[in-house]
């Protein structure tokens, strides 16, 4: 099998285990859109125009609370700031045309970034040549389709039932990414000291701040702490 030609498929394959959480998130977002008394076209348009789950939820909540426009925009931009780092982290890995980069940038969500980085890490030392941009586009494309379809489905489900109303959103977020954190801990023994320190820091920060601010500050502090405790491995061909 020519892995380079099949990397769109490989990207979709890597995204597949994440799909259950994406589907549930999409359904809950659609349900939330309905219960917020917003029309379907508005709710579904958020999923393909913004295409960023956490900011979509935040914007939806702020709209229903009649917050000023500038506050909604500011909050939405703030929660998406982490995407700047994703682009920077993948800059050297994606050697593609500008047109393809535009598509990759549009599809660069948390999940697409994670599977791309995971694919790169898993492939280190292997003889298989992977096209990481194709992996990102393949996985991101599948995510886009799933997210948009389930948003619409969730809206219609919201009209007819309330079975998801009792499941806390916090639980879904934690459950979704718990598996990946365990995998990261297991597959990166050199990073464990860094991960442990960030866990302590995140736990401490959680007493003071929450939501988007906690996410943002954890990333910033993590970057600073990384200077002391993060083991940078030099990969052949990946020059500093």
């Amino acid at each position: 099998m020519n892995w380079e030609e099949n990397s769109y498929y490989y990207g979709a394959k890597l995204m597949f285990p994440i799909l259950p959480s994406v589907i549930i998130f999409g359904l809950i977002f659609g349900i939330t859109g309905f219960t917020s008394n917003l029309p379907l076209y508005l709710v579904s348009s958020m999923s393909y125009i913004i295409f960023a789950g956490s900011s979509q939820f935040l914007v939806l909540v702020l709209i229903t609370q009649d917050e000023p426009l500038f506050a909604i925009l500011f909050a939405g931009i703030l929660i998406n700031l982490r995407h700047i780092f994703y682009g920077a982290a993948l800059h050297h890995d994606l050697k593609i045309t500008k047109k393809k980069k535009i598509l990759a940038a549009y599809l660069l969500t948390d999940e697409a970034y994670l599977i791309t980085k995971f694919a790169k890490k898993s492939n280190d030392g292997e003889n298989i040549e992977l096209n990481l941009s194709n992996i990102l586009i393949g996985g991101g494309g599948l995510l886009w389709i799933s997210w948009n379809i389930t948003t619409i489905m969730g809206y219609f489900i919201g009209q007819n039932t309330n079975i998801f109303n009792e499941i806390p959103t916090n639980f879904i977020v934690a459950a979704t990414f718990l598996g990946y954190l365990i995998l990261q801990w297991d597959q990166s023994p050199k990073e464990r000291r860094f991960i442990f320190i960030i866990i302590l820091l995140s736990f401490s920060l959680s007493f003071i701040i929450d939501g988007v601010y906690l996410l943002f500050f954890t990333l910033i502090i993590g970057m600073l702490v990384a200077q002391l405790f993060f083991p940078l491995e030099t990969i052949e061909g990946d020059e500093i």
Binding site: F16, P17, P20, I24, M46, I49, I50, F51, S55, V59, I72, L73, G76, I77, L81, R82, H83, I84, F85, Y86, G87, A88, A89, H91, H92, A104, A105, Y106, L108, E166, I167, N170, F171, V173, A174, A175, T176, F177, G179, Y180, L181, I182, D186, S188, F194, I195, I198, S202, F203, S206, D210, L214, L219, I221, G222, M223, A226, Q227, F230, L232
Partner: protein, 98 residues
């Protein structure tokens, strides 16, 4: 508003994807960037598991389920299993103890 937000999101994703200034290509910057996945995962798991807003709340069935699922997920090494397993457990417990 959605268009502005969507455009800003796209620009944030695309900025450094298209052009990464050479002066940023050093060991410190790379360390910072490589730390993002682990930090992101921790930020999405720890506070959402043990806290409700800024109050610690560990005596909940959700916390018990998440903590109990760790050895199971570690054994199977399937990250996608975490949501399916824990959600199923939560819905079953809610159903039987309602």
């Amino acid at each position: 508003m959605f268009v502005i937000l969507g455009l800003s999101t796209f620009l944030m994703r695309a900025t450094f994807l298209f052009h990464f200034p050479t002066r940023l290509n050093n060991e410190n910057i790379r360390k910072a960037l490589e730390s993002v996945p682990s930090s992101l995962l921790v930020a999405l798991v720890i506070p959402y598991t043990f806290f409700v807003e800024t109050s610690i709340s560990i005596f909940r069935i959700e916390v018990l389920i998440l903590v109990a699922s760790v050895p199971v997920i570690n054994y199977f090494r399937k990250p996608g299993l975490s949501l399916v397993l824990t959600l199923t457990a939560l819905m079953l417990i809610n159903q039987f103890y309602k």
